[in-house]
């Protein structure tokens, strides 16, 4: 098993659920976003205002619920976790640095920093040592006996960071942590975060500033609720990583608008395409991805496609974006065997609730296993036929192919599965 800490699969977020009734269309704060956070990652989320950066951070940190899709934290689906379990997860594993400090006004700075560890009922001496160490590190030891309203914005921000770190969290979520700091203090803080990251703390940071994002290892650029670009630093220097980030961000800055105006003013037709092609050869197949398989030339269900990650099959060539938003392609001829199985999900439709079933595929190749959960419904039979044409051996212990022949419609087939696969039916 890999060291994936958080994984988001096709998540969407709509704040006003009734907006569809009011305006006839949904307004997505997040639309079909995939995300994967591994141990030791330092991911910076960037994007213009209102693009969904903070929403994504809130959803990933389990503070907010997604409307569609699934988030797994430490291999456990958030939807199956109770509120108490989520609180325990946040207490044990995460630290938060909020946009506007969120310090408790009637507690002293010392108490504010100690707030998360108080819950652990630790000895006062241990609490004091932890708080003092952090205070020294962040140079706030002189304000420990003040109250938040007596401190400056920068001081409050450093207190918020100390509070986030006091529990030694595995994952640190930061929402614009340098918003109130000057450049010197920002650099100090980000170097500190980088140092923490080198020591093993995983960091997810939301920012507007490309320079701040360049301290990370990966930059995800969000636009209109969807992931537009992902860039990995890999072995590149911070400076060249910043240049790459700037190229992506440039498309949404005023500078780009100036460039466009200049081009139209000069009436030039030689406009060079500045969109960047981001390549990442790193491929990992350990996590199961929910996809909608589309065979070239076959009809497409646009309703399913709208909220899914497509996997295109052109002949024997398959391509999709993985949860890390990397472009992945492989040849189906390289697949030695496909294992088919079913997964059941307990779904509520208003007053009613029942189980629905999805097919899971494990495509075994020499490189690894591509794991998929399919959103395809009645058209899956075409995909099976395609696999047969390519002479890929299918392991089908649950006789899914037979069920598709016997019950071509989803409703009847689901009823059949409910009768025959009772071992899958357990409330989640």
């Amino acid at each position: 098993m890999s060291n994936i800490l958080i994984e988001a699969n096709n998540i969407s977020k709509i704040y006003d659920q009734d907006i569809f009734l009011k305006r006839g269309k949904n307004i997505y704060a997040l639309n079909n976003v995939n995300f994967q956070l591994e141990q030791g990652d330092f991911i910076c989320i960037m994007g213009p205002s209102g693009s969904g950066k903070s929403t994504l951070l809130n959803c990933l940190s389990t503070l907010d619920q997604v409307t569609r899709g699934d988030i797994k934290v430490f291999h456990q689906s958030v939807s199956t976790m109770s509120k108490d379990e989520l609180c325990e997860f946040r207490y044990q594993k995460t630290g938060f640095v909020f946009q506007n400090h969120n310090l408790i006004p009637y507690l002293s700075i010392y108490d504010n920093i100690a707030a998360p560890i108080i819950l652990g009922k630790q000895k006062a001496k241990i609490i004091e040592k932890k708080v003092m160490d952090l205070a020294k590190m962040l140079e706030i030891e002189d304000i420990l006996d003040k109250f938040p309203h007596e401190c400056s914005g920068g001081e409050c921000q450093r207190v918020a960071i100390a509070r986030a770190l006091v529990n030694q969290p595995e994952i640190l979520f930061c929402d614009e942590p340098t918003g109130n700091l000057d450049s010197k203090n920002s650099h100090k803080l980000l170097s500190f975060l980088s140092q923490l990251n080198h020591q093993g703390t995983t960091i997810v940071l939301v920012t507007h500033d490309p320079v701040i994002a360049s301290y990370g290892k990966t930059m995800i650029y969000i636009y209109d609720g969807g992931v537009k670009t992902t860039i990995h630093q890999n072995q590149a220097s911070q400076k060249s990583f910043l240049e790459k980030i700037n190229q992506v961000v440039h498309q949404d800055t005023l500078l780009y608008e100036f460039d466009k105006d200049e081009i139209s003013y000069q009436d030039t037709n030689t406009h060079e395409d500045i969109t960047m092609k981001v390549e990442d050869k790193k491929k990992e197949y350990v996590s199961r991805q929910t996809v909608y398989m589309i065979i070239d030339g076959h009809p497409i269900d646009n309703n399913i496609l709208k909220n899914s990650t497509p996997l295109y099959i052109r002949g024997s060539h398959a391509e999709f974006k993985n949860v890390r938003n990397d472009d992945i392609s492989f040849d189906l001829k390289d697949i030695k065997e496909i294992k088919m199985d079913l997964t059941a999900q307990f779904v509520q439709f208003g007053l009613f609730s029942d189980y629905t079933f999805k097919v899971t595929l494990d495509c075994i190749s020499d490189e690894g296993i591509y794991k998929f959960t399919l959103k395809n419904k009645d058209d899956f039979i075409d995909i099976i036929q395609h696999f047969h044409q390519l002479e890929i051996p299918l392991d089908d212990p649950r006789h899914i192919e037979e069920a598709y022949h016997q019950y071509p419609h989803d409703y009847e087939r689901t009823k059949y599965y409910r009768r025959t696969h009772k071992d899958l039916l357990k409330y989640k």
Partner: protein, 438 residues
């Protein structure tokens, strides 16, 4: 200006309606209390002095409450006023803008207050008749209306004074109010023994004050039980309650400071006590009124002669005062509640679950109710029994008043618990309170 006011009122209908209801209730109470005062103006000097003091005291509370509501109203409109100042309006214009809004509201409220007041007087007379009392309130309507009008003028003058002070504050803190920040409050408690950044120092003043308050409390309690003279008992009663308030305001924060290291190891105790200090800091004015008003009312009672008419005055005045104090508590509490959303949201994000937060808020509220409401009730019960023994009030009336006290404050306790529970549930369901504290 009128067009702007019209738009503001239309968009904030609910707030203005609530304000109108509150002002109408207060105006109706003022009308009733003036009518009661008018009824005894013709009695002999001592009776008049003692009995008229009771409605006068209640009347003073009603006026103070009207001013307090005005203050709350202006505070809630700080943002609007500061924006107008920013757009280039002069403070004088704002003053006119406020007077136009508030004067209309006050006139409507006082108009409705007359109707509601007349109805209340009729209801009070009917209640006295049901209780088989021979006394009933007969007042001169024209005289009553004149006094009522005078009170309207006094209220307007006080409102003008308060609004001037508020506008000065808005002007001084313009940048703060525009940025949604509340004007800074003082430190909730003094950090002395629990200091970390500087050398710890012994809080000598706080210790002396606390010991003095504790000594006074127990001395007054002992004297209250042993002294046989009712007038002395009332003095000890006020002394004891006043020292209780000092204990709440000084001794508990001092304990929190001195035992800080030990309390840190008990999260519920830590958050409940720190939350309690914050709650009492915000509601302390009500607790003060509470500790002063009741004994003073009884004191006035004892200054006069023992007549059966006392019961007729005490019941409605006590009821109206309790309702007014309750209104005051509810308004203050709703202001306090607004500030707790962000705090609970932060605690929830830090890993405290709903159950733990409920527990913290419950403990805090029960501690508040015990110290600020139940202890005075025990005193009132003791004092009440003594007054009944002396024949100033009948036993049934005293029991009725105690039941009313218990019902009203029990309702408030329920409201506190439910509202905080809703607040915790709301913040755990919606992340918006964490990011924007809205």
């Amino acid at each position: 200006m009128f067009e702007f006011i019209k738009k503001v009122v239309t968009n904030q209908k609910k707030d203005y309606l609530l304000l109108l209801i509150l002002l109408t209730v207060l105006a109706a109470f003022e009308f009733c209390l003036i009518a009661m005062y008018d009824c005894i103006a013709t009695s002999n000097y001592m009776t008049m002095l003692s009995l008229s003091s009771i409605p006068t005291l209640a009347l003073a509370i009603a006026v103070v409450l009207s001013v307090f509501i005005t203050k709350y109203f202006i505070q809630s409109k700080q943002q609007e006023f500061s924006m107008l100042l920013l757009f280039g309006r002069k403070p004088k214009d704002l003053f006119i803008y406020l007077i136009l809004q508030y004067a209309i509201l006050l006139i409507i409220a006082f108009g409705l207050g007359i109707i509601l007041g007349l109805f209340l007087m009729y209801a009070i007379n009917s209640l006295l008749h049901i209780l088989q009392m021979t006394f009933s309130f007969h007042f001169d309507l024209s005289n009553n209306l004149f006094l009522y009008f005078c009170f309207l003028i006094i209220t307007v003058i006080l409102v003008l004074a308060v609004s001037t002070q508020q506008f000065t504050q808005i002007e001084c803190h313009l940048s703060t109010t525009i940025n949604h920040k509340s004007v800074q409050k003082g430190a909730p408690y003094l950090i002395a023994m629990s200091r970390h950044s500087l050398k710890r120092k012994f809080p000598i003043t706080q210790v002396i004050t606390s010991f003095f308050a504790i000594y006074i409390f127990f001395y007054a309690l002992y004297a209250l039980i042993t002294d046989t003279l009712l007038q002395n008992k009332l003095i000890y009663f006020s002394l004891s309650l006043a020292s209780m308030i000092i204990i709440i305001n000084t001794f508990i924060p001092l304990l929190f400071d001195i035992c800080h290291q030990s309390i840190l190891q008990h999260p519920f105790l830590f958050y409940s006590i720190s939350g309690f200090i914050d709650l009492t800091n915000q509601l302390v004015s009500i607790a003060n009124i509470h500790a002063i008003v009741v004994p003073v009312m009884f004191m006035f009672l004892l200054m006069g002669e023992t007549t059966s008419n006392i019961n007729a005055f005490i019941i409605p005045c006590f009821m109206m005062m309790l309702i007014m104090l309750l209104l005051c508590l509810i308004i203050k509490f709703s202001l306090y509640l607004k500030s707790t959303f962000n705090i609970y949201a932060t605690q929830y994000a830090l890993g405290y679950n709903q159950k733990q937060l409920f527990k913290i808020s419950l403990f805090k509220n029960i501690l508040f109710i015990f110290l600020v409401i139940i202890i005075p009730l025990i005193y009132i019960h003791y004092l009440g029994s003594y007054i009944v023994m002396q024949g100033y009030l009948s036993k049934s009336i005293m029991t009725g008043l105690e039941i009313l006290y218990i019902v009203i404050y029990f309702m408030f306790l329920i409201l506190m618990i439910i509202k905080e529970k809703q607040c915790i549930k709301e913040v755990s369901d919606h992340v918006k309170y964490l990011n924007r504290s809205e």
